[in-house]
Symmetry: C2
Subunit: 556 residues, 2 copies
């Protein structure tokens, strides 16, 4: 194994082939590429600054090309020439028996150790005979230093200083405890003294956006002329935008929401199901549905898995959930609508009253909130640095208000609205504020919606035909879930579908599902991106969708 290790080390030193490769990249994509990319950057504010940076970058690239050429010619004089360079692309040439330490593990306990780290060049700053680098790995970073001395030559320091930001490097370094806390890094008590540095993947010299601009709190850039990045630029360059501490935190938390949702339900005895997304008929009347060409016929994309969840209940699965994409062909260009989003769906049979369903769902939400609070505090605080917000509040048991109570509260606040009128978005938000003032909670259920504003399969209230056994749930005054007791009787379902002028032929297989014995049941669908947005107090659902889709955006 040692023998193998040595062989590999030899292969890793810089060769003429590799040096030529850097130069080529620089000449071909570097200087020319920069000016073109500045023209594409849509952020007006930062344009001047970016132009200036571009010129700087161009100069730097020129310099680097020159330096690399210099290095090539002086290779023979360089005592450290085997200690840096650009090795061949990792193509799985060898199995190298070398452990890599994670940046977050770099603590004073490791002081004095010689270790290998793979990380990105976050920033670099040359200063006489030394070069300071910040090495980044996800949300963690550490200061590193290459200084002319026994282990590093002048040429090696220059090489390090000229590596483009965002490039990935392997460094061998000694961990040193520092006297003064390094405020700007996540690893504040140590720095790395680099003894070897090799470029694993070279970034282009000019980035389409700067990570530090992406995490600057809104408004802060305005005051001192520093740039912030607008949302379209971020989304157009999502691969870089997702590297920021804020994005890393948001999507780790999102992964946590899914896990908490499923674990809670699995513990409650729910079964996970997979429902088809391509369906033969537009189930809920046909509006807002995407059409797919399907061999010689047409099909549609499912607007929700609800009908399939219900079939599973009729098929005795008792309690089911599913996590998957849902599609809405709505031309809504708002902060909270997407054409494709992730639905966290629940459906369950109940015994006597649909409040059993509400309790099951609200308890699941509460478990998610607690899990996030207890296990994702770092992520919540990281996001809070860029987007400050009040901590999310919830009650146990969850507050449940009837629709009529909500309407009464709104009327008391001066809103004019009818009993059977649906809540407008501004009224939803206002009610959220009123509820927060009165009950001090960011999460509540509004129960017993007017029958007229709900889908045909909603169970009418047995005591008052104006209302229904249906509910919405809200976080920070915005709807995150819509649900109801469903009609489980084919005859009543047929009547209600006819009342809604729905073509019975198109929903035949749905209605037929209830002909062979169906338990009373209910459920709801939660929008994952909305839950994450509202929990974190963000203001646009595109921030919590990795690759958002809206009427105007289909890329990346």
């Amino acid at each position: 194994m040692l023998c193998e290790q040595l062989t590999v080390k030899k292969r890793l030193i810089s060769t003429n082939y590799n040096l030529k490769r850097i130069i080529t990249v620089m000449t071909k994509d570097g200087v020319q590429g920069v000016v073109e990319e500045v023209d594409q950057a849509p952020s007006k504010k930062g344009l001047k600054k970016q132009q200036k940076e571009a010129e700087k970058a161009a100069k730097k690239a020129e310099k680097q090309a020159k330096l690399s050429a210099d290095q090539q010619s002086t290779d023979d004089d360089d005592f450290a020439k085997d200690r840096y360079g650009v090795p061949p692309m990792v193509q799985s040439q060898q199995k190298l028996d070398r452990g890599l330490v994670r940046v977050q593990e770099l603590t004073p306990e490791k002081a004095g150790q010689l270790i290998w780290v793979r990380a990105r060049i976050h920033t670099s700053r040359a200063k006489g005979k030394q070069c300071f680098l910040v090495l980044r790995q996800q949300q963690f970073n550490v200061q590193a230093l290459v200084a002319v001395g026994e282990r590093a030559s002048k040429q090696m320091v220059k090489f390090a200083a000229n590596i483009n930001k965002e490039s990935i490097v392997d460094v061998e370094a000694v961990v040193k405890k520092v006297e003064q806390t390094i405020e700007s890094c996540s690893q504040q008590d140590v720095e790395l003294h680099i003894e070897r540095i090799f470029v694993i993947s070279q970034a282009e010299p000019r980035l389409p956006l700067q990570l530090e601009d992406c995490v600057r709190p809104e408004g802060e850039g305005d005051e001192d002329g520093r740039a912030t990045v607008n949302q379209d630029t971020r989304l157009d360059n999502r691969v870089i935008d997702l590297r920021t501490t804020t994005s890393q935190a948001i999507f780790r938390l999102q992964s946590g929401v899914c896990q908490l949702f499923r674990d809670t339900l699995t513990n409650k005895g729910f079964v996970e199901i997979q429902t088809p997304k391509i369906i033969s008929a537009a189930s809920e009347g046909g509006a807002n549905v995407f059409t797919v060409s399907y061999f010689k016929t047409s099909a549609y994309l499912a607007q929700s898995p609800q009908l399939y969840k219900q079939m599973c209940i009729c098929a005795d699965f008792d309690k089911v959930f599913c996590v998957g994409p849902v599609f809405r062909a709505e031309d809504s260009n708002t902060h909270r609508h997407l054409t494709e989003f992730v639905g966290l769906d629940i459906e369950l049979a109940f015994n006597y009253h649909y409040h059993e369903v509400i309790e099951s769902i609200t308890d699941t939400m509460v478990q998610i909130f607690k899990g996030l609070r207890d296990k994702f505090q770092t992520e919540i605080q990281t996001v809070g640095k860029q987007y400050p917000s009040e901590p999310f509040k919830f009650l146990e048991p969850t507050l449940r208000l009837e629709y009529s109570e909500g309407v009464a509260m709104l009327r008391e606040a001066g809103v004019e609205m009818g009993d059977e009128e649906d809540l407008s978005t501004p009224n939803e938000k206002l009610l959220g504020r009123l509820v927060k003032e009165k009950y001090d909670t960011d999460f509540y259920v509004l129960d017993k919606y007017p029958l007229a504003v709900r889908p045909f399969y909603t169970m009418p209230d047995p005591n008052d035909k104006k209302y229904s056994n249906s509910y919405d749930m809200f976080m920070r005054g915005e709807e995150i879930l819509s649900g109801a007791q469903r009609i489980h009787d084919a005859q009543l379902l047929t009547e209600r579908a006819m009342h809604h002028n729905i073509d019975l032929e198109k929903i035949k297989s749905y209605i037929d599902s209830f002909r062979y014995g169906a338990p009373p049941h209910g459920g709801g669908g939660i929008g994952l991106e909305r839950v994450c947005m509202l929990y974190l107090g963000l203001h646009n659902v595109r921030q919590t969708s990795m690759f958002p889709r809206d009427p105007k955006r289909l890329t990346p």
Copy 2:
């Protein structure tokens, strides 16, 4: 609460309204409906039998209508009239403080207790003054008895005997230990002596298929003239087919596969991601892709989340997985192709060699196999009753063969094929058998596929240009995963795309993802339905897809 309970009990007794409702159902949908439904039943073998059954059912329905009418007229003479009937539809009228016991909890420890159970009428058999019912709840069932006596009248026994199979009932009953084991039920040591019985949801008198026919082992029906049900009939009536013990077991196991997959990866530090299914360009050359109309333009359904997984790796998520639908517009009508299936996708950065990726994936598979073996033995055995198969075998560590070794084994067995030729389906299966004979495993990896048969983004083998750093994984001789080290260098990726004649403009944003530093990485995509099918030794992927989609099937 007691007061509430009493009120409810009063409401639950049979009323004239409800009796009329049964009669209506019988006259309107029963007798007439039967003949029509027989015509639709596509199973030729069972047609005669079904006709006969239909006649029987028609007679039974007539009888039931008469009986119900009789009951109405004799209500006043019936001392037990409050103990049975059809209460109003459960519309959440009341919160009833009544616990329901699960059928699987009915054990001798409960002997002597008076309990409530909600279950389906699985079978019913009247015999003089008593009626034997089998009550079913998912994969569990129990024998129950209504007998004329202190608690039940003649009318009540008749009522019970006439409830249609598959109806859902609430029964109050005393749990009795039995002397002789009841072989035909899952609860073999107890039976229920029914004191009250109410119909919660009435099934239509004629079922489109019989559950006992659905679980009959293939071939067994042929011998003694009993029916088995063909696959299309099952799928057309999936809501009933899914109620069988076999289906319940298959989909509970499938839910388990997803959970084991995610839990294993989460423990390994993977992050779950959500990738878009609507995409702007057909990524892998444009073949086999479904087109979606997207407002004023066109879009496509993603054939895999691979490009997005890779972007996440370039965005520093390091190790990611996702579970979601993938779409293939292939006109393949085989036992193992679906146009929509569930992909379990993995992608991770590695340090030096893509075998790190293979090990991560094979270990995940092994954890799944172990989890199924240890936690889903009941489900495996239940499926095995209908579809017998050898227990699934695997090795630790997983067997990895090189493609050239596989070709050599095939040649030794008489197959003629070239070094760079792809494996045909029959050859795949043959190789599976050869591997099983030689190594006694149903799971193995075939590594280093010829470059020519893999997608453009596959990393070439650094030592032999004919091969690539790519692999497939097989279960019982059929492919369940395809994966590779991906090219992480924009320049090489461009060259390979051009070699494959791919329009560079269409994959620009994909290639650009690798321009700003990208770690070496690899991954693969697993087909959930295939894993379940092959683990259980089934022979059609439609058995492990709840609502399968193929070129000819879009419903239910």
